[in-house]
């Protein structure tokens, strides 16, 4: 159970990474270490929020996606797109233009995932009515769900049991095509994702149920392709945007933005975005400092999905455009007619089990052993300088102390301890260099004028 690792789409390209500590310092769960001069992510601690990717100065992080040509393995190729995809484009580019280019690119159908929001919303209201443990926490943002699993395990029971729009729309669209007589193996559903967290959820095997989508396409990749398509053609589209594309209503358009869910829930509801804000607030919820709150909408990204790591457009402009659209379509309510007959079908299939708590903070499963380890950590902290420089390859002194106790580092990993040891002749200078090379990679201390900021930067 505890050994089973999370699936992560977030990867480090070792050819580009030069071990600069930016990612290590911003990671909200302290999941990154530098080893052999490269960033390495602890799989069980990473929550896929993408902060490392946003902080990397050399674009060494990437999000693994499926090969675009994979769509051609299927006769029916469906793109499931969230509303933020549209929000990135300048307002003079219309939705139907975007969708017709997507069809030129090879998709046979384009479906906006938020069309299924009404079903999700209904289930959320039902769950809220019968819940005793308050506040309930939205299950919308997978990075937040993982954050709670690893850092706030006592709150897992308060996470709602409803799948997000991606899964729900995949379940709907597959069934719809099947009902049209299309064999399942001909149906390829591809989710256009704004972030790593959503991929991880789609790709994580849940019990023996197969993933509802056949592949994932990164939103930045598709954005570039679509924009290129629009810029490079003269006149109007060669292909119609396709049928089955009614406009989303205001609730649907803004669902993935900050304050997307909260206004539609009952009682006292709060919306909090950005991972550090979320952590800070959950800390208080866990202390029972926050009372009489019924519902929490929590999103890992600043400006919620408009700030997703794969959303190309500026997050404030993206959110603004979507809000304008929501205003424009303020008279549209309810589900499109196509979906209505599938309401019960969806409702019976989009609930999820309570996610398992998997604390990353635990020093040992045995409380007695954990106590001993904690005592050791406190002892090491007496010697470590407490300036959190990260030169040991751990994000701060306390992390190093814990890493030492867990036998993943040594006290001599600390450069200040090395100096002291050298002074007391307990460490030879050559050995100290070897230690540094182990963390920072060979030749790291050699002169190099091509690094960022140096004389021949980038050459």
């Amino acid at each position: 159970m505890a050994e089973q690792q999370f699936y992560h789409a977030l990867k480090v390209n070792n050819d580009l990474c030069f071990g600069c500590t930016h990612c290590m310092n911003v990671c909200p769960t302290g999941a990154i270490r530098i080893r052999d001069g490269k960033a390495s992510i602890r799989k069980n601690w990473c929550i896929d929020c993408g902060d490392c990717m946003k902080a990397c100065p050399v674009d060494a992080f990437y999000i693994e996606q499926d090969d675009f040509d994979k769509i051609y393995h299927f006769k029916y190729r469906v793109a499931l797109v969230p509303a933020v995809m549209i929000g990135q484009f300048p307002s003079n580019i219309s939705e139907s233009e975007i969708f017709s280019v997507m069809r030129e690119l090879g998709f046979t159908h384009v479906f906006q995932t938020e069309h299924t929001v009404d079903v999700i919303h209904e289930l959320m209201l039902e769950e809220a009515r019968s819940a005793t443990d308050k506040p309930l926490i939205s299950s919308f943002c997978p990075a937040v769900v993982r954050l709670i699993q690893v850092k706030f395990p006592s709150l897992v029971d308060q996470i709602m049991h409803v799948k997000p729009p991606i899964d729900t729309s995949a379940i709907f669209f597959r069934k719809k095509l099947q009902d049209e007589g299309i064999p399942d193996e001909d149906i390829g559903l591809f989710y256009v994702t704004p972030c790593a967290a959503k991929i991880a959820i789609v790709k994580s095997p849940v019990k023996d149920r197969p993933s509802p989508v056949n592949g994932v396409i990164n939103m930045d990749f598709l954005y570039n392709k679509v924009l290129h398509g629009i810029k490079n053609r003269s006149g109007s589209s060669t292909r119609s945007p396709g049928d089955n594309l009614p406009n989303l209503g205001p609730k649907h358009i803004s669902w993935s933005l900050t304050n997307g869910e909260a206004p539609y829930m009952k009682g006292r509801c709060l919306a909090i975005d950005e991972i550090h804000n979320v952590i800070d607030f959950l800390e208080r919820v866990e202390n029972d400092e926050i009372q009489d709150v019924d519902f929490l909408e929590l999103r890992a990204c600043d400006e919620s999905c408009a700030g997703g790591v794969l959303v190309v457009g500026n997050r404030f402009l993206t959110a603004e455009r979507l809000r304008k659209r929501a205003q424009l379509f303020k008279d549209i309510h309810g589900m499109p007619d196509d979906l209505v007959p599938y309401r019960d079908y969806m409702k019976s299939r989009v609930t999820v089990e309570t996610p398992e708590p998997r604390s990353m903070l635990m020093l040992d499963t045995d409380t007695g052993v954990a106590l001993q380890k904690m005592e050791q950590v406190r002892k090491f902290m007496c010697y470590l300088p407490g300036i959190d420089c990260g030169a040991c390859g751990s994000p701060n002194c306390l992390s190093l102390a814990r890493d030492i106790v867990q036998r993943e580092a040594q006290l001599s990993s600390c450069v200040f301890i090395q100096r002291t040891m050298e002074k007391h002749r307990k460490l030879h200078g050559d050995h100290a260099i070897r230690i540094i090379e182990k963390t920072w990679g060979k030749d790291r201390l050699d002169k190099d004028c091509t690094k960022i900021g140096a004389k021949d930067e980038g050459s």
Binding site: D288, T367, A370
Partner: protein, 138 residues
């Protein structure tokens, strides 16, 4: 293992710091989440009481494999009638404190409810001592 935290009277913005620190420790020790929750609720109320009613205080925490023992001491006005103070809803909190969302008179009763043992002693004009024990295996 022992830990000690200072609590500053009147500073509501810091109320919760000591209980958060203890919570972090218990999480590292793989103490059952439900037990942690109870302990933290009791600690937080105890911490808030020092902030709201006393001048300054400290929290001493002693943890071993089986249990957590907490002692909160303050110098402050003391409690004239402890039995009365323990009653649900009893509060002498000022209007200003209530305005900030504290002072529902549920602190002491909730501390009692959420710990296995609790003992309050107090001397008027000097201060109050609260001792609480909770066992990890219920």
């Amino acid at each position: 293992m022992e830990f000690r935290y200072e609590i500053e009277g009147g500073n509501f913005s810091r109320a919760g710091h000591a209980s958060s620190a203890v919570k972090k420790i218990l999480k590292q020790l793989n103490v059952d989440n439900k037990v942690i929750k109870r302990v933290v609720v009791a600690l937080y109320e105890g911490e808030v009481n020092v902030v709201a009613h006393a001048e300054k205080g400290s929290m001493m925490v002693d943890i071993d494999e089986q249990r957590i023992r907490i002692r909160i001491e303050d110098s402050g006005p003391g409690i004239p009638d402890i039995d009365l103070a323990m009653q649900a809803g009893f509060s002498t909190a000022s209007a200003a404190v209530r305005e900030m969302g504290f002072g529902a008179g549920m602190g002491l009763p909730n501390m009692k409810k959420n710990t296995d043992q609790m003992h309050v002693t107090s001397e008027v004009g000097k201060g109050t001592q609260v001792e609480m024990i909770t066992w990890f295996r219920q």
